[in-house]
C-alpha cells in the first residue's frame, strides 16, 4: 500500500516533465519572443545531448537536484540575440549570463508549480560551463529527464535531475 508521501512522489514524477516544459515555454513566450517546440522527453541515467554551453542551477529543500539548460553554439547565440535584441556572435559573458538567467527562471517556474504540491525548494545561483563536449553526471538513485526543444536558431535541451529529500 502506498503512503501519502509516496503517492505524492508518484504524482510529481508524472507531472514534473510537464512543469518543466510549461516553465520553459513561459520564459520564451514572455521574455525571448522565440517560438519553441518541445520534442520527446529523454529519461534515464545515460542521456546524451550535444551541447556547447550548459547553465545549471541547484535545487535544495524538499526536492534536491538541478535544472540545466544545454545549448548548441548556434542555439545559445540565437537565443541570446533574441533575448537582448542585438546580434551576438561569440559565446561570451553575455551569452553565459543570458542562458544562466533562463535556467534561473525555468527553475523559478518549477518552484511555483511544486509549491502547489506543498513541495518547497530553494534555488541556488546559476553557473555556466562552455566547452566542446560537456557531460553532466546524473544523481545516483535520482530521477532525470531532458526535454529537447527545437527553435529557428537550433536545438537546446532543458534538464531536470531530482531526488526527494
Amino acid at each position: 500500500m502506498q503512503t501519502d508521501a509516496s503517492c505524492n512522489e508518484h504524482v510529481l514524477q508524472e507531472n514534473c516533465t510537464q512543469y518543466l516544459i510549461a516553465a520553459t515555454q513561459d520564459v520564451f513566450a514572455s521574455m525571448i519572443f522565440m517560438d519553441i517546440e518541445p520534442g520527446e522527453p529523454l529519461t534515464g541515467s545515460d542521456i546524451r545531448f550535444q551541447t556547447s554551453l550548459s547553465s545549471m542551477i541547484g535545487l535544495a529543500g524538499d526536492l534536491r537536484g538541478l535544472v540545466a539548460v544545454h545549448c548548441t553554439r548556434e542555439a545559445a547565440l540565437g537565443i541570446t540575440s533574441s533575448m537582448l535584441g542585438m546580434d551576438v556572435e561569440e559565446l561570451d559573458d553575455d551569452v553565459k549570463d543570458a542562458i544562466g538567467e533562463i535556467a534561473n527562471m525555468v527553475a523559478g517556474g518549477m518552484k511555483v508549480s511544486l509549491a502547489d504540491h506543498n513541495v518547497k525548494i530553494d534555488l541556488a545561483i546559476p553557473s555556466t560551463a562552455v566547452g566542446k563536449s560537456i557531460r553532466v553526471s546524473s544523481l545516483s538513485k535520482g530521477n532525470r529527464v531532458l526535454v529537447p526543444f527545437t527553435t529557428s536558431a537550433g536545438t537546446f535541451g532543458v534538464e531536470l535531475q531530482y531526488i526527494f529529500a
Binding site: 520564459v27 514572455s30 549570463d97 527562471m105 518552484k111 511555483v112 534555488l123
Partner: protein, 123 residues
C-alpha cells in the same frame, strides 16, 4: 518629473531586459543606474539621486532581503521605495520583503504589458 531608477540584479542580461521593458511599456523615467548586488546598490543610493529601486532577491554577496534590511537602517535612503523583481514569489519571502519596506513584487518572467501594469502607477 521623470523618476531616476536603480536596477539591482546580478544578471547583466536581466538589467538590460528590465531597462528595455520600461521603454517598451511606454513608461517615462529619467536616469537609470545599475548595481549587481545589494552592497553595490547601497553605494549607488548613497551617491546618486534615485527615486525608485527595482531589485532582484536571489543575488550573491548581499541578496535583496539583506539589502532591504540594511537600507532600512540608513536614515538618508530608508524612504526610497523598492520594488522586487524576482523568480522568488513565495508568500513567505515576499511577505518578508514587504515587512522590510518593499512596495510590491513582479515575477520573472514578465512581459512589457505586465511591467506597465504593475510599475506604471509607481513611475
Amino acid at each position: 518629473m521623470a523618476k531616476n531608477v536603480l536596477l539591482v540584479d546580478d544578471s547583466s542580461t536581466m538589467r538590460k531586459i528590465i531597462s528595455r521593458s520600461l521603454r517598451q511599456a511606454g513608461l517615462e523615467f529619467g536616469d537609470i543606474f545599475e548595481a549587481s548586488d545589494g552592497a553595490e546598490a547601497l553605494d549607488v543610493l548613497e551617491k546618486e539621486s534615485v527615486d525608485i529601486v527595482l531589485s532582484d532577491i536571489n543575488m550573491p554577496n548581499m541578496n535583496g532581503i539583506e539589502f532591504l534590511r540594511e537600507k532600512a537602517s540608513r536614515d538618508a535612503i530608508k524612504d526610497i521605495p523598492v520594488f522586487m523583481i524576482s523568480t522568488e514569489t513565495g508568500d513567505d519571502i515576499i511577505g518578508e520583503a514587504k515587512s522590510l519596506g518593499a512596495v510590491g513584487a513582479l515575477k520573472k518572467p514578465f512581459t512589457p504589458d505586465k511591467v506597465n501594469e504593475v510599475l506604471g502607477p509607481l513611475m
